[in-house]
Every structure is written in structure tokens, then in C-alpha cells.
Symmetry: C2
């Protein structure tokens, strides 16, 4: 009798969920808009109802679902709770794993979304066969999942791997980050950070750039910067160069800490391809001790975008 | 029948060795001057001869010695070798564990000196009962031993925990470090780094300071700076403040990585007491994410100086 797993990826905008078979294939998936459920119980009712329907539509008995894995921002593996999430509608401490387990009658395991991504890479993606690696997610924020000796690193309190909040500017005048600190790498090397850099240049300099053609500068995206770079825009290239160098400097620090076999990048900003990857690699290499130079590959996840988050969550169930 | 362990601490100047009982008491110890043995086989011959004598003098049969633990700079736990050590007389890759095992007929386990210090803290010192903590050694250099889930972190290649070579200056104009890079924290926050800062201030400014009374400015030490601070010298206090702030900023990064229960400092520079510890703690706190503020104690090792290195090495044998 084949076993299946449900994977949930709770995001600030949408929550994706899917049914995964033992070969890591997403058989069927769907999503609901997170923001439309300001009340957590209503959210869980709807999510569980939809997951039951998904399993039924695939013609599978609920008894064949071995478990539910969930990745969510600010989720704590030890407590099973989402704690003080800044980008979700529910305030304070939400016992998410318990709320889902009770409704589904199946054990639910939760961890933060970057940890889920790292677990997914280890089971299904670029890190298959690796026991020591780091996944950095470059989306709205900068997240990280660290694998040591084949296991996710949780640390003393379950919150290890907040690499996005290591600082690249200690002057006290760095950019304000969502965590309340100033100068975190997240405020620069995320997709949002690239948009902020672009807006700063467009509004505070007179440098000629295609980015001035973007209709609404307040909503410029890293995709706009990529499109401009592809057209040869020098300012757009400089933005990626600046961003990549900052991130690469921090990656060298992380190598000095845990000596990983590889670093895998994931998320929206990686779509900028070589424009961002070249400066990242260059700056990391320039800041590594000689024993590591040329030895630590930095690559982009090879998991399919639409499946990766669900697979990562599902991979928590072994 | 009680079992004993031999511990060896290979240092740039002297190599200490001692016989340790199961309660972690150093029964008897001695040392030889490392630099007097430019040939590794002569060094090992002398060291092993001295260790045999030590065991005999304590009235113990060699058959009751369960193992030999060794801490050394640039030692690799996986390979058992000391590799390209910058502060030892032997060049290239030295199969140290093998050389000692062969001579003594007892298994020898080797790791880098900061890892040995961390193991010692876990078994005998400030970290008893902890499963996740970081030891930073502040001596000639800045070393680190990282414990994750009760085990020393070695990473993919055995070299994890080179935190002294994370940079605090990416300008390219930072201080030259022994590793060949510029701007490493080791070049600032070691005992040597404090001496460099003191020399820079004395030779390039006209600030009045007791440090100008030091007879030979080229050989000023962190102890001289401490003595001046104790006498109320403002420049000396500024030096510790500057040094502590740089180190504290990096400690915050390390917390964001592995979420340790505590950070323990060890080595010569910690003798500066509150002059260095206060700015370290202040800068770390100022750079931590809110979830960790006020939760991560930074303390000084409680192991007796003379025993700590031998105990750390001995603790590798369990």
C-alpha cells in the first residue's frame, strides 16, 4: 500500500498545498489566499477542507496519507508554533501544527519555510547526497536553512539559521529591516532589497537608466531591473553587482562557520541569473580563507518553482 | 581498574602535555619548547619519551592509558593531520596522530586547538550540560570551536569553525591577517590585534596616554593596555571599547547562524575583564534580532588556565 504526504507552504500572500507521492512527485496541488483569513481558525478550517477534497479527488484514502509537512515564516520546529510572524495576518503565537493535526487526524510537522526548502533540496533537489550545505532563500526576505551532518540545524531554541539578519552595515545608518534592526543583509540582497536600491538610484541621482521608464517607481521590482540589465542598462547591472557583492561577502562568513559542501540559492532574485550569480561568487571567493577558495560551489536550486515549496514541506515527513 | 588519558596541547611556543584521570583532574603535566624541534620526528620522539616518563612517574601502567587526545593549530580531525600550520615549525601536511600513535602504541585523536577547548568546556568547564554553544579563543589569533547538538562541528572537510577569519573590514584596506586575507576579525580582536591597535594609536596620534611609557612599542602587549586601563588611561579604555565592539558585532552574526545557548570566551585577551567584556556584550546585544536579545550569555571560561588546554585535548577521548 503506497503512502502519500501532504505538503503545505504558508506564504504572506498565498498558501500552497499539495499531495506528494513517495517518489517526490506533486500529484495534485492548489492554493488559498492567506490574507483573506484574518482569523486563524477560519484559515485552518478552509485549508483542511481543501486538503481533504484534494486527497479525495486523487482517489486516495485518507488512511494512506502518512503525515502533513508544513513550511511557514517564523515557524518553530520545536514548539510547532508560528511565532510573531511579521508577514502573516495572525498575531502572537499560533499553535499551527496542533490546529492542523486536530482537524485532519494526522500528525503535522512544521518548520520555517527556508528550513523546509533546505530539506526539500536534500531529499529531491540539488543537495541530494550532501550532508553539509546551506540554502539561502532570496525572495521578499532573505531566509536560510542550514544542514549539518544530514540534519536541519535548529540550535538551542529552534530558531537557528536567521542569516538574513546578519548585518552588512554596522554604522547605525543602514536600511531598516522588517526585524526592526538596521543594516541586515535582508534589506539589501532580497528581491525587495534590489527594488529599494533601484528606487534609491532613480530618485536620488540623475544617472541615465531604463529604470526611469518604469511607470510606478514605488512598485519597481527585481524583474524590472533584470529586464533592464538584459537590455544592456549599466545602472541595472550595477545594482546586481552591488547586491551580489554584499551577499557574497556574507556567504564567505557562513563558509567559515560551517564549512559546507555547497551553497544553494533559491527564490525570486535568482531569476536574475548571471547578473546576480557572478558578483555573488566573485565576492565570496575574494573573502574566503585560502583552504576554501575555488572549492565551494554556489548554485541555483534545480527544483521546479511551482513544486519546490510543497516538496520542501512534504519532505519533513520521512 | 581506573583509566587515564594523556592530553597534548601543541602551541607555537610550547607544547604542554599531561595525564588526566576520569574526574578531569590533571595529575601531572610538563612541557617542551616546540620551536626547538624543527624536525617533526625529533619532536615526536622527545614528546613521547617525556609522556612515557610522566606516566611512569605517576606510578601508572601504560596499559591503563585509554587514549591520547591532542589539540593543535590547523589540525584536521578527519585526516589526523596538522595541515599547513602558519605558527608551527613543520611545513606542509604532518600526519601527527599517526606519528604519536605509532610511537606510543595507543590511539591518538587530534583536532584543532579551539575545538579541543570547546570539548573541554563541555566536559569539564562552563558548558557542562549544554548541547549548543560556541567557544571563541582570544590569544595570538582568534579561534573557534562550535558545538551543535552535543558534538563538535567539523563540516564537510573537517575545517568548520574558522570564525577568526570572518571579516569586519571589506574595504580591501583592512589589516593583513596571518591567513593572507585583509580585514579578518583575528587581526583586530586577538591579543595581538589589541597590541597592533595600541601601536597604531601611539605612533600615529598625539593623544596623551600611559601607553607611551611602554619601553618598546614594537613589543607592547594587551597586558600593557590592561594595566593602563586599570590606571584610568582613556586611550587604553578606548582600545578595549573599539576591540570589543568589533568582536561583539561578529558574535551577533554567529548567534544568527547557530542559535547557541551561550558563548564562552577563552584565552589571553579575556584577562582584560570588564574592559573588554562590557563592549563585547553591548555590541552583540545591539546587533541581535529581537528574539535573542538578553538571552545569550557571553562568559569567560571557568577552567584553570594552566590545565584548560590539556583538559580540552584529553576530553577528546571518551
Amino acid at each position: 500500500m503506497e503512502k502519500y504526504v501532504l505538503g503545505i507552504d504558508v506564504g504572506g500572500t498565498g498558501t500552497k498545498f499539495g499531495l506528494v507521492n513517495k517518489d517526490g512527485k506533486v500529484l495534485r496541488s492548489n492554493s488559498i489566499p492567506t490574507r483573506q483569513y484574518p482569523e486563524i481558525n477560519e484559515f485552518c478550517d478552509e485549508l483542511c477542507e481543501r486538503m481533504r477534497r484534494l486527497v479525495k479527488d486523487e482517489g486516495i484514502e485518507m488512511g494512506n496519507v502518512a503525515g502533513i509537512g508544513c513550511g511557514a515564516p517564523d515557524a518553530n520546529f520545536y514548539s510547532g508554533c508560528i511565532e510573531y510572524a511579521t508577514n502573516l495576518p495572525w498575531k502572537g503565537v499560533v499553535p499551527f501544527a496542533k490546529l492542523i493535526s486536530e482537524r485532519m487526524g494526522i500528525k503535522c510537522t512544521i518548520t520555517n519555510d527556508a528550513n523546509a526548502a533546505a530539506q526539500g533540496e536534500m531529499i529531491y533537489g540539488s543537495a541530494r547526497g550532501m550532508k553539509n550545505f546551506i540554502v539561502i532563500t532570496l525572495g521578499t526576505g532573505v531566509g536560510s536553512g542550514i544542514v549539518i551532518d544530514g540534519k536541519l540545524l535548529y540550535g538551542h531554541d529552534g530558531f537557528a539559521g536567521e542569516l538574513g539578519h546578519c548585518k552588512i552595515d554596522h554604522s547605525g545608518n543602514g536600511r531598516l529591516c522588517g526585524c526592526g534592526q538596521k543594516g541586515c543583509i535582508e534589506a539589501y540582497a532580497s528581491a525587495t532589497g534590489v527594488a529599494r536600491t533601484a528606487k534609491e538610484i532613480v530618485t536620488s541621482t540623475t544617472q541615465p537608466t531604463l529604470l526611469r521608464n518604469v511607470a510606478d517607481i514605488d512598485h519597481i521590482t527585481s524583474k524590472d531591473v533584470f529586464d533592464a540589465a538584459e537590455k544592456g542598462d549599466l545602472v541595472a547591472k550595477e545594482i546586481f553587482d552591488y547586491t551580489g557583492h554584499l551577499l557574497g561577502q556574507k556567504l564567505a562568513d557562513y563558509v567559515h562557520f560551517s564549512s559546507p559542501e555547497a551553497i544553494i540559492l533559491f527564490g525570486g532574485l535568482t531569476k536574475a541569473g548571471h547578473w546576480i550569480m557572478d558578483p555573488i561568487r566573485e565576492a565570496m571567493e575574494a573573502n574566503l580563507m585560502p583552504i576554501w577558495k575555488g572549492k565551494i560551489p554556489v548554485s541555483v536550486s534545480n527544483l521546479k518553482d511551482s513544486d519546490a515549496a510543497i516538496l520542501g514541506a512534504a519532505s519533513l515527513i520521512s
